[in-house]
């Protein structure tokens, strides 16, 4: 008999959460005291200590730390958390490990509508934010409806997502090619980037992220039931259609808010929820906590690498995410596949496995 799955899950969740918080604090501090501006690491540490104690660190240090690096760290943490939680909600509500804001076209839908709003109504961040949410929702619902009509299998959902993502991506390319003035930094937007963040810019996205995350936590137990299949969940008293739709709306708000801050960062919404589920197999509520912490840690860490690895140049953080994350994720998938094969062999030898 195997060790207790429930107890093991609880312990693993607690360990992963504690470790994630520690890593997040460490990478956030490292990110705050590291930079290309004329403020070295030791000077940054001194200035940070002075500011923490309420002292005056000087105009330059205050500007660099509070005006440049701190908004960037907060933006990275919030966007990473939002995208990872969005991925988890999509995977749970569509019962598909490959669902993520990037794959399902949520990011590109939000991006396209954000660009169109920037083009048609320039200088209105609230309109851009609202349109990003509409675009994310349109993409997700399009994928959901297409896959329902086409049979709603796991493969169909992903194929519909790829198709919608391509469509929205083509729209983005068309907009930035015909109207290049619609976006200040095309590469940073399409690959994802965190440069030039301000707290004013975050003031719109972060409350929307917090509201969507709170709603997702409230819906958590219902989202857990979706894993049992629609009829079983219905029999347990869940309004299946409303719960799935609510989870998708929360995922769309989270992804849209992130896209409006950091552009089309796709990979974090796929890799983090899968890592969390591989490691701890939690329910939706603890899963959201783990995704928030580890999504934030991953994006802040990748942004730190992006800023420093090719100094004096800065790489788009999406590029670093893909370069570091993809091989790591592939190796995990291969290891999991080997584990499953050896488990199957052991089960076959042991007889009554299933």
């Amino acid at each position: 008999m195997s060790a207790g799955g429930g107890e093991r899950t609880g312990t693993r969740c607690r360990v992963a959460l504690a470790l994630g918080v520690t890593v997040l604090v460490a990478v956030a501090l490292a990110s705050l005291v590291t930079g290309t501006a004329a403020l070295g690491t030791l000077d940054s540490l001194n200035a940070l200590g002075t500011l923490a104690l309420g002292g005056d660190a000087g105009a330059t240090a205050s500007l660099v730390l509070l005006g440049v690096r701190a908004p960037r760290v907060v933006a990275g943490a919030c966007c990473g958390a939002a995208l990872a939680c969005s991925g988890l909600l999509l995977q749970a509500s569509l019962d598909n490990d490959l669902a993520s804001p990037g794959v399902m076209g949520v990011n590109s839908g939000a991006g396209l509508f954000w660009l169109v709003a920037a083009l048609l109504v320039p200088g209105h961040p609230v309109v851009r934010q609202g349109m990003a949410f509409v675009g994310a929702l349109v993409s997700t619902l399009l994928v959901y409806l297409v896959s329902r009509r086409a049979g709603s299998s796991r493969g169909t959902v992903v194929l519909a997502g790829v198709a919608v993502s391509s469509l929205m991506g083509a729209g983005i390319d068309a907009v930035v090619t015909i109207w290049p003035e619609s976006v200040a930094d095309r590469v940073a937007f399409t690959l994802g980037g965190l440069s030039g963040q301000t707290f004013q810019r975050l003031a719109l996205g972060v409350p929307a992220m917090a509201a969507a995350l709170a709603a997702a936590v409230a819906l958590g137990r219902g989202i857990d039931l979706l894993a049992l299949g629609d009829e079983t969940a219905h029999g347990l008293g869940l309004n299946v259609r409303a719960s799935r739709l609510a989870a998708i709306v929360c995922a769309a708000v989270l992804a849209a808010s992130a896209v409006s801050v950091c552009g089309l960062l796709g990979f974090v919404g796929l890799i983090v929820p899968n890592l969390v589920r591989m490691w701890a197999s939690p329910g939706t509520r603890p899963g959201l906590a783990l995704c928030a912490v580890w999504g934030a840690s991953l994006l802040v860490a990748c942004d730190l690498v992006a800023r420093t690895v090719a100094f004096p140049y800065e790489l788009p953080v999406g590029l670093v995410l893909s370069l570091l994350g993809a091989p790591f994720f592939i190796s995990l998938l291969v290891r999991r596949g080997r584990g499953r094969r050896s488990h199957s062999v052991a089960a076959a030898r042991g007889g009554d496995a299933r």
Partner: protein, 253 residues
């Protein structure tokens, strides 16, 4: 208690379900038997509020389609055929049975935990409580799902093929469990291909063919109706003797 009158459901492909009358009283086990595609599962799905039916299906005197989702689940538990194998442990699965009765924050209280423990004890999955569903046998998985609907603590159980994947002894134990639940006042409706178990351990048998109920009554009445061979393709006959697992056996027609 379930009470059906004049219920009908028409599928796009042309299949039509018609049930003029059916009652499953509290304290009774009612078995739906018939060939594949005769409408057993469709009837259960109508009773569970999944399919839009015409006519009347009352649970505890309330029309099923008029009940809210959680209100319906508090009165009526439904387990579909071949539920999946999600990645969770047995205890978590059984705990999901309490969903409809949890408050706004959806956290379980002491009564909920006691009902979950009792359901796992009744169905014999207490020893498996911390194992992943993927690590138990198909029969144990089925029992875990049955524990989940027992934990729901509703007055009526609708079970679609609950003995699927169970070995002969477990089938007998399941029949005893359903009788025990009925003894505690539940109305139990079971759709099954296990004809021997259905006739041997039910209070009422409902024989179905091509969407119609062709015979209904006590097992003795249905066995004597002469409709069984045509509806099932096999006969069923009372058998007596020490050590027999079931009181009825299948016969060639």
């Amino acid at each position: 208690m379930i009470s059906v009158s004049g219920l009908s459901f028409r599928r796009d492909g042309g299949f039509t379900l018609r049930v003029d009358s059916l009652q499953a009283a509290d304290g009774q086990v009612c078995a739906l038997v018939g060939k594949n595609g005769c409408g057993k599962s469709t009837l259960l799905r109508c009773l569970a509020g999944i399919l839009p039916y015409e006519g009347s299906a009352l649970v505890d005197g309330r029309e099923v389609r008029g009940l809210g989702h959680r209100e319906r689940a508090r009165r009526l538990a439904y387990l579909p055929q071949d539920p999946g194998c999600p990645h969770m442990d047995v205890r978590t699965l059984v705990s999901h049975g309490r969903y409809a009765t949890l408050g706004a924050v959806r956290t379980m209280g002491e009564r909920d935990r006691a009902l979950v423990r009792r359901a796992m004890g009744l169905t014999g999955v207490w020893q498996l409580r911390d194992r992943w569903l993927s690590d138990v046998s198909g029969g144990e998985l089925q029992l875990a799902y049955i524990a989940m609907v027992v934990a729901q603590d509703s007055g009526t159980l609708l079970l679609d093929e609950p003995s699927a994947h169970l070995d002969a002894l477990r089938c007998r134990e399941l029949a005893d469990l359903l009788r025990r639940l009925a003894g505690e006042g539940l109305a139990v409706v079971v759709a099954t291909h296990d004809v021997e178990a259905a006739f041997s351990s039910s209070d009422q048998v409902c024989l179905m063919a091509e969407g119609d109920v062709v015979a209904r009554g006590t097992p003795e009445e249905v066995a004597a109706s002469g409709r069984v061979p045509q509806a099932l393709g096999v006969g069923v006959e009372r058998q007596e003797g020490p050590g027999l697992l079931w009181g009825y056996a299948l016969t060639r027609t």
